[in-house]
């Protein structure tokens, strides 16, 4: 119920649209029921008048029939237009709302959601929420209002008919949807789960095809896909059966309403307390009234799914960000000197990922952080970028604790060329300009040239307008890294962070990238994170991290002389005794 309340609250800004859609669908429904009932009354009354010869005013009813027919037609059109407007506005609002709520969670809190499949679930969930308003909320409210009006109308003519119809409406619009919801919950949940398992099995089968073939396991994977497929369809068949029963059930109730109204009216007509045309009108009215509850059972079949989607979204947006921003942030610091004193951090698993880190990043200094994977290098970076909050010690930026500044202000000082740069589904130009949207063409080209990527971009048929990302041009690992470096250059921040900027590149790419970096590092504070040592030998200071602690500091020459961890790393990598 709390989830339903939150969903309603989300729709509040769009209430005018939703109410308009509701009103129009109510008008359309009433016009249709009225049309059938009035037509029935009209031909019955005309027939009686024809037989008895008593004159009848046929102008109003005949005009009424035509008016209702046109009202229904136009009402339906208007209702469709307005409800789609409402839905699209809501959807846009929901997307922006979710994006704004998820934005502060990245990247620390989203790591559990790293795989694309989970993210596309978010998208499916948003669409699912949209059906809550259009296919659930609106029909339920329309049915509620309409049924109330229908029963009041019938009551005016016959209490018994009103009561019988009310009970049948309750059966078709209350009991049936509830039963369908309860019976459909389990197969519905299974359908969601199975189809996601099926997707995983298919992706596994395609991404891992080389291994499956090489290890003679393709047949087993195929069996698994077939089994999941069979299970998915079996549960869908259950749901389709429920939908069939509910549709047949509503039709049956509508027929029985007509029948009961006839059974009740026949003696009344014979006794003269009800006119024949009234009997015809009531019968047709009762039958048509069920159009109001027709969409309810299929809607309730979706209820479980919709609420599950809502819960997933709410639990995501409710996560607290890893870093809380200060209420009154200090102004952007003028200089970018950072010093770390006794900084410690733990992911909460009882293991200190970083412990007692002391480091001076004075302007212009080049500091390299090396160590095996898992030593805490990337965590250190996340702390500097304000993606994670340190647990102990202090990080001082321009004389103040770093958490007193707005995170965005801190990141203005840092340009990162990362380990796994992300390319958006946009042109290369747009991908570069993310670093500085206001940059002019010349600045962008200069940055690309400096990163050694300009010539390759210019050689593409569409140049900087070539689409990149998933659907775009395929770039090699080295090209992507160099694009990331061009971004960092374009950002032109006082502190440069190179996170494994050249690892896993082939020798040729590595050489080009390294040359670009050398140029870029001139005059900038640089933090270079690496587990390969070839790139760090020229640093002013090398810090060796091991299991979250700084175990050695010094220049390349000093560290080699000391003959400890760094020397061992060095020897392992170059397989030669350190001279």
């Amino acid at each position: 119920m709390r989830d339903v309340c939150r969903l309603l609250k989300l729709a509040w800004p769009y209430r005018a649209w939703l109410v308009a859609a509701l009103g129009l669908s109510l008008v359309t429904l009433l016009a249709n029921v009225g049309l059938l009932a009035l037509s029935g009354w009209f031909i019955a009354a005309m027939a009686l008048a024809g037989i008895s010869g008593i004159p009848i005013n046929y102008h109003y009813p005949a005009a009424g029939i035509r008016a209702l027919a046109i009202l229904r037609t136009l009402g339906r059109y208007a209702e469709r237009v307005v409800s789609h407007q409402a839905s699209l506005r809501l959807l846009a609002g929901l997307r922006v709302w979710i994006f704004r709520r998820v934005e502060p969670l990245a990247p620390a809190r989203l790591e559990g959601y790293a795989s694309g499949d989970l993210l596309s679930r978010i998208r499916a969930d948003i669409d699912c929420l949209d059906t809550f308003y259009l296919r659930l909320l609106a029909p339920v409210l329309t049915a509620l209002f309409a049924c109330l009006l229908f029963i009041l109308f019938l009551w005016h003519f016959s209490f018994a008919v009103a009561l019988a119809t009310a009970l049948l409406l309750l059966l078709a619009g209350g009991f049936l949807p509830l039963a369908v919801h309860l019976l459909g919950r389990k197969p519905g949940a299974r359908v969601t789960r199975t189809s996601s398992e099926l997707r995983t099995a298919v992706v596994d089968g395609l991404r891992g095809m080389e291994e499956l073939l090489a290890y003679d396991a393709a047949g087993r994977q195929k069996e698994r896909v077939e089994e999941l497929n069979r299970r998915l369809l079996a549960d869908q068949a259950r749901l389709a059966g429920l939908a069939g029963i509910s549709a047949g059930g509503v039709g049956l109730c509508s027929g029985l309403a007509l029948w009961l109204s006839l059974v009740i009216s026949i003696p009344l007509v014979r006794a003269g307390s009800m006119s024949g045309p009234q009997m015809v009108m009531l019968g047709l009215f009762c039958q048509a009234a069920f159009e109001a509850v027709l969409p309810l059972p299929p809607a309730f079949l979706l209820l479980g799914q919709t609420l599950a989607a809502a819960r997933r979204i709410f639990s995501l947006v409710d996560e607290p960000p890893a870093v809380s921003e200060p209420q009154k942030p200090s102004p952007l610091p003028a200089n970018a000197a950072i010093s770390l004193r006794g900084v410690g951090f733990s992911y909460g698993d009882g293991v200190a990922t970083l412990e007692g880190i002391d480091l001076e990043l004075s302007p212009g200094r080049k500091v390299a952080v090396v160590g095996v994977s898992g030593a805490g290098k990337s965590t250190l970076l996340a702390l500097l970028l304000r993606f994670r909050e340190y647990d102990s010690g202090s990080i001082i930026l321009a004389g103040r604790e770093i958490r007193e500044y707005d995170g965005e202000d801190v990141r203005r000082l840092l340009a990162v060329a990362g380990q796994q740069p992300f390319l958006f589904n946009a042109t290369l130009r747009e991908n570069l300009l993310i670093a500085r949207p206001g940059a002019v063409e010349e600045e962008m080209v200069a940055a690309a040239r400096m990163a050694g990527i300009h010539d390759e971009i210019a050689a593409l048929a569409q140049g900087y307008d070539t689409p990149a990302g998933e659907g775009g041009v395929k770039l090699s690992g080295g090209q992507v890294r160099r694009l990331a470096i061009a971004r960092a250059i374009l950002k032109n921040a006082p502190i440069l962070i190179l996170d494994e900027a050249t690892s896993s590149l082939d020798t040729e790419s590595e050489r080009i990238v390294q040359a670009a970096l050398e140029k870029l590092m001139q005059g900038r504070t640089t933090i270079c994170i690496a587990h390969r040592l070839s790139t760090v030998q020229r640093a002013d200071l090398i810090v060796v991290l091991d299991k979250g602690r700084i175990v050695e500091t010094g220049t390349h020459a000093e560290l080699l002389r000391s003959g400890r961890v760094y020397t061992k790393l060095y020897e392992l990598q170059f397989e030669q005794p350190a001279a």
Partner: protein
């Protein structure tokens, strides 16, 4: 299906061909639907007769009781028929979807890994899962409804003609307008609609893409700006969609107009004829009861049209995937010769990925025997991975032969051959499942001690021990939660477990830190003893273990020899070494 027909059938024609697989089931669904229509007519005739007798003849319960009692069973039968028809139609669509989905997956397996480079897997999975799902409405609703739509209004018309031929005339006159306008307006809307669906997909993709890249956006302080962009794009999308929908809904408006106004018109005309005594009330009432039902299937047509559109949209992608050419296989494979010791020979092998592309492998001759370690080096795109793919039978040479102990590999059963090969690709795939199952891919019946031994040799025992449930830990989708180095070590563990005479590795130690790399190389050295090893290297540092280094460039072998020998030879290798390692 693999032969090229001169005329390519449209997706809808092919959807229709699929229908043949479930013809009897679909026919049953249609029969049940039409039977429902007959029951409906019977019901209307009874109600009209009954009401006539009560109202006009002053009859009471006693006179109309038989008719009154006949109604509830008829209503029950009608509900049962509608339920049964829906179930049967669903069964037909389920069968087709099941077969199409299985066929698609099998087809992609048959096509082999080279047709489908990993990045497209998500997209293809969407077609197999959601695309096939979109066929549902076509078989369970659109096709049965087409038949019902033809039959039920005709039956109603037949029932109306004896009651009132004027109304029958109105029905006959107005009915054709409905499909006519549906198609006329639908045609235009179809194109617009399709464009709209595409832009919807683009918008969804945009949103997802930005969420995926949130960390990057935040790094450049661009995330708040992007929220504004999402709002703006959504708004643009809404305006564009609505401008299409205003028109598209017009077709529905015309449908409604004809259906509703015709019923109203009939009611008014019948009323006046009743007033003048020109017809019996019973007949007039029968017509009024049946008229909305006459138009209902025609009106519903609009809804099912949507199901059709969706299916056709999906069908294009499904059929183009079903048409993927399969990798050739020998019809009657030769048995493999005895393989100890193994002697592999590439004899003047050439290969191209597509007929009009440059050769990826161009006249390569190369030999490899048990106990020998050959390293392939060269710039990216030189053909190293393609050579490995040919050796794994993922593709067959266009020219030349790959001989194994004197037998042409193209004549052998690829599955049988691959049982002798262990393979570590450049980006190993980790399957959703337990750690045990992932390693056991190497040998299905391996017991835990063997698995742990292999894990130890691949240097994974340490991080496996740290996992919450050890070997039973379920690894996330696409190896979520594992680093690249860990995934590679799991792939290595498979190799250690498989114990095969030929080992092919594509840069097995990339992404490992120096310590792990040294350990893994040591294990590989042990494993290599007595086996044939072909290893692809991107970095020269890993070459020293090789007996022979083969340097490739642009699909050809340009140099081969020992590491030191090549370094001094002054060729491509020497230049690469100089660029990479410094003095």
């Amino acid at each position: 299906m693999s032969t090229k027909a001169p005329e390519i059938p449209s997706p809808e024609q092919r959807l229709n061909l699929l229908k043949n697989r479930v013809k009897p089931t679909l026919a049953l669904a249609v029969g049940l639907g039409i039977a429902g229509g007959f029951v409906l007519i019977a019901q209307a005739l009874i109600v009209a007769g009954l009401v006539h007798r009560v109202m006009v003849n002053g009859a009471g319960y006693r006179e109309v009781l038989p008719q009154l009692l006949r109604l509830p069973p008829l209503m029950l039968v009608r509900a049962a028929l509608s339920w049964a028809s829906e179930r049967v139609a669903f069964a037909a669509s389920a069968l087709i979807r099941q077969e199409v989905r299985n066929d698609l997956f099998q087809r992609l397996l048959d096509a082999g890994p080279l047709r489908l480079k990993g990045d497209r897997a998500g997209e293809v999975a969407t077609v197999i899962v959601d695309g096939v799902e979109a066929l549902e409405g076509y078989y369970s609703r659109y096709l049965p409804h087409l038949a019902v739509m033809a039959m039920v209004p005709l039956s109603i018309l037949a029932a109306v003609v004896p009651a009132d031929w004027i109304s029958a005339g109105i029905m006959l006159f107005t009915a054709p307008f409905i499909p006519f306008f549906t198609i006329l307006i639908g045609r235009g809307a179809e194109r617009l609609n399709q464009r709209q669906w595409q832009s919807l997909a683009r918008l969804g993709g945009y949103f997802l893409d930005r969420v995926n890249g949130l960390a990057t956006l935040r790094m450049f302080n661009a995330s708040r700006r992007e929220a504004g962009m999402i709002a703006r794009i959504s708004d643009d999308y809404r305006l564009a969609t609505m401008s299409v929908l205003y028109v598209a809904f017009l077709s529905a408006l015309v449908l409604e107009f004809f259906a509703t106004v015709s019923v109203a018109l009939m009611a008014v005309i019948i009323g006046f004829r009743l007033l003048k005594g020109g017809m019996a009330f019973q007949d007039g009432f029968t017509v009024l009861l049946l008229a909305p039902e006459f138009y209902l299937p025609l009106r519903l047509m609009g809804n099912y049209y949507h199901a059709r559109m969706e299916a056709i949209g999906a069908a294009e992608r499904i059929f183009s995937m079903l048409d993927t050419p399969v990798a050739p296989r020998p019809l009657a494979p030769c048995p493999l010769p005895a393989i100890t010791p193994l002697r592999i020979c590439f004899e003047d092998v050439s290969f191209r990925y597509t007929p009009d592309s440059a050769p990826a492998i161009d006249g390569v001759t190369l030999s490899l025997t048990s106990g020998e370690r050959v390293a392939l080096v060269g710039p990216s795109g030189a053909g190293k991975s393609t050579l490995a793919a040919l050796l794994l039978c993922f593709a067959l040479p266009e020219q030349g032969r790959v001989m194994v102990n004197g037998v042409d590999l193209a004549q052998c059963d690829p599955d049988q051959w691959r049982r002798l090969v262990a393979w570590v690709p450049q980006r190993p795939h980790i399957f959703h499942g337990t750690m045990r199952d992932n390693i056991r891919l190497g040998r299905r019946d391996a017991a835990d001690p063997d698995i742990l031994r292999a894990a130890g040799l691949a240097r994974c025992e340490e991080f496996i021990a740290r996992l919450p449930q050890g070997l039973d830990t379920v690894i996330g989708e696409q190896g979520a939660g594992l680093s690249g180095g860990q995934a590679r070590r799991i792939a290595l563990a498979r190799v250690f477990l498989k114990d095969s005479p030929l080992i092919i590795t594509d840069e097995p130690t990339a992404g490992l830190d120096a310590r792990s790399e040294a350990m893994v190389r040591e294990s590989l050295n042990e494993l290599a003893r007595g086996r044939a090893v072909l290893s692809i290297a991107h970095r020269l540092a890993t070459l020293e273990d090789a007996d022979r280094v083969v340097v490739m460039n642009e699909g050809r072998i340009v140099e081969q020899g020992g590491y030191e020998e090549l370094k001094g030879a002054g060729g491509l290798f020497a230049r690469m070494a100089a660029a990479g390692e410094g003095p």
